[in-house]
Subunit: 430 residues, 2 copies
């Protein structure tokens, strides 16, 4: 690309009407000339060819993506992923901000993903490592998205719980139980203090546990537990399935007694979730299956915060996301960024309940509270409730006891002295 062509892909932000642009922040590495690499990135993402042969025109003004900021951070001895650049030579590591005209594709999730994470991004000449770190959307663009129907406030109102984290339990054994014994496990856990009993992300509408019967059994158990405890409860049914069954399964689940539904958003597609949002009568919960392969590399793919933001935009009310701890292979700072994406101002879109997940138990509650400085989160253990040595009712009780200890400023050990369920959980180590 010659210098004149290159300049056509650079702009001063102050000269642009930023209502017309989304702003993309990428990390990238290149072997030579970062300005060329950044210009190519804009070209490949937008007006790959900006004029017809023999016509005097330049389509880049309205349709071209434009570099508005480029910082060369340092020189690396070799690229992070040499097999992507076919070179072991030194590489520049850079951060770029690109103003991308959203009129090129509109307020559509698949076309947005194509624009910012498509061929133009990952196969741009001269660039090896590349990761989309963030997207800023103007209010005019966000206005096209409904976002959460309920959000945190709506969920809290349903449960009548305003001053503490939400206690969620993944019913286990997750696979293989018929609806009746499965519902019995949920019943015990609800009686023990669980707010939300949920299907595992692997459990769907299958021949040995039809959603029709499962929702009916769990729905009946839920109402019984609400009567017995005087607390509101939620059965969160996993309706993840083929796109053209989502609305049907939502209707089945809700008619039979589920009062929230879960969709594995990355495997079903975020666009399908947006479709469901237009129809839903109950809160939508997201599970994070398949997010790891494109977010876990340090310098390639997309930052999970972008996916969290998109999940909020398409209408999830709560996002179960990879949480703290070694097992989840996610740095604390990344988890915190994801949690912030759930909560921070985003146009007219309601905040959503973050549920940082992974190998949790009663002991996770004070840790989460300390890290998040907020009661606006959910905790989602599975085995810690349903494999508790005293049974699921005790497992659920151990969670509530952990929160009681936390608000009283007591250690779990102290509080466990006269709370057998918590003590048993501590002895079990989960």
């Amino acid at each position: 690309m010659n210098q004149a062509d290159l300049r056509g892909f650079f702009a001063e932000k102050s000269t642009l009407n930023m209502d017309d642009y989304i702003v993309l922040e990428y990390y990238f590495e290149c072997a030579a000339n970062p300005e060329q690499a950044a210009a190519h990135l804009c070209q490949e993402q937008s007006t790959a060819q900006w004029k017809r042969v023999d016509v005097d025109e330049d389509l880049r003004g309205r349709f071209g993506a434009k570099v508005i900021d480029l910082v060369v951070e340092r020189m690396l001895d070799q690229p992070t992923y040499p097999f992507l650049s076919h070179s072991n030579d030194k590489a520049y590591s850079c951060k770029v901000k690109i103003a991308h005209p959203h009129g090129n594709f509109g307020a559509k999730i698949p076309n947005l993903l194509t624009a910012v994470l498509g061929e133009g991004t990952f196969y741009s000449p001269g660039i090896s490592a590349i990761k989309l770190l963030d997207i800023e959307f103007p209010e005019s663009y966000l206005g096209n998205f409904q976002g959460p129907k309920f959000g945190i406030a709506g969920l809290r109102e349903m449960l009548g719980v305003y001053d503490r984290p939400i206690m969620i339990g993944v019913i286990k054994p997750n696979l293989g139980l018929a609806p009746e014994p499965f519902a019995e496990l949920a019943r015990q856990a609800w009686l023990g203090g669980l707010d939300i009993a949920k299907d595992d992300e692997m459990l769907c509408d299958v021949e040995w546990s039809r959603l029709t019967e499962r929702a009916e059994r769990l729905g009946a158990a839920r109402l019984e537990c609400e009567r017995l405890t005087g607390e509101k409860k939620i059965y969160l049914a996993n309706i993840t399935d083929e796109v053209d069954r989502l609305i049907e399964l939502h209707d089945i689940a809700v008619a039979r007694g589920a009062n929230a539904v879960m969709v594995n958003g990355m495997t079903t597609g975020l666009s399908a979730v947006r479709m469901l949002r237009k129809h839903t009568q109950v809160p939508l919960f997201a599970h994070f299956d398949f997010i790891a392969p494109f977010t876990r590399m340090l310098y390639f793919g997309v930052h999970s915060r972008v996916m969290t933001k998109l999940q909020r935009m398409v209408g999830f009310d709560s996002i179960i996301l990879p949480g703290f701890g070694d097992r989840m292979k996610t740095s604390d700072s990344d988890v915190l960024l994801d949690v912030q994406e759930c909560l921070k101002p985003l146009g007219h879109l309601k905040p959503v309940l973050p549920v940082p997940a992974g190998s949790q138990w009663a002991g996770s509650i004070p840790q989460l509270y300390e890290k998040l400085h907020s009661v606006d989160f959910g905790i989602v253990p599975g085995r810690a409730v349903f494999e508790h040595p005293m049974g699921p009712q005790a497992g659920a009780a151990s969670l509530r006891q952990s929160w009681e200890a936390t608000v009283r400023g007591l250690t779990l050990f102290d509080y466990a002295r006269d709370h057998a369920e918590l003590l048993a959980a501590i002895k079990e180590g989960h």
Copy 2:
């Protein structure tokens, strides 16, 4: 996990009814005890907890994933991705084959992805790097999928072209032209010998180029070119959009004159494509946006061949995939594996036309023919046709001339002596 629990996640393949299982092949790295790591992988993917407290049961027989083969390949001085294991110690690199009972989730794309690329895969204890290398499906499972409606044979019949590669061109400038001048470019390229003129993957149904008008203009131009050339032509309209508009846009495009449609499958969701397949009247083409982030790492994510296989199962008739050449960051052997997935026997599913893409021109044709040993492929240049110095008609002609040279056993240089379009392409270098 104790030794008895571990053995519950191992099985001799000969003892299983393999009709009930899909077979997953993973590469993984672990710091200690590969058998433990493989057993955990099965546990997390399936029966995370296989019995209720105080009930004597074991759900693993029917519902547990089972290791049927485990090979420790070598000891690495350190893990490939130390940040995933929080360790720089030595690591075992392993390959494992897992028989996973498909009755756990059924013949559903989102639930299949959850099972094989979900939380259970990427957050399994003790495992750092992990990549899904392949899936084998039994016929009983494949029988639930329609697969391609047309396939290679159907596409060839539409075009009346049986003995050569299919010449596809991405109309450029890809963004910014109104439907009328856009159609004029396609018209020129069809007259020059192009079989299929297509929308860029970035071009969708937008205010400045409504699909209604675009399909009408291109449809009319297509019919005119068929009359003028005596050849059949295809206008491939990109209908990528929100899931709940796919069928509407298919109907609009086809009614107005498109005779094939493209969907960016990864950004729209493969399940949505399967929905469209039930409805489509025309061949479906796949574009590969967003595949790179989860397939390009050597030891993490999923091999692109798996995604190619799934795209065939959901019903694409042709798959545009990352092709040969440095820019595409894909090894030749990986491209060949993807191409084979399009062509090889797969239950009752028709073969699909592979289109290995990326910076192509007339000179790419003999190279592709040599690498693939077959005429069953498509070539999909953009600028080489539409930025050809003599215009799109000449650009398209240069492709046909390149194929003529190839079948005659001539070098392009020789054939270019009395073929000005090819000569100009060679001088341009693309």
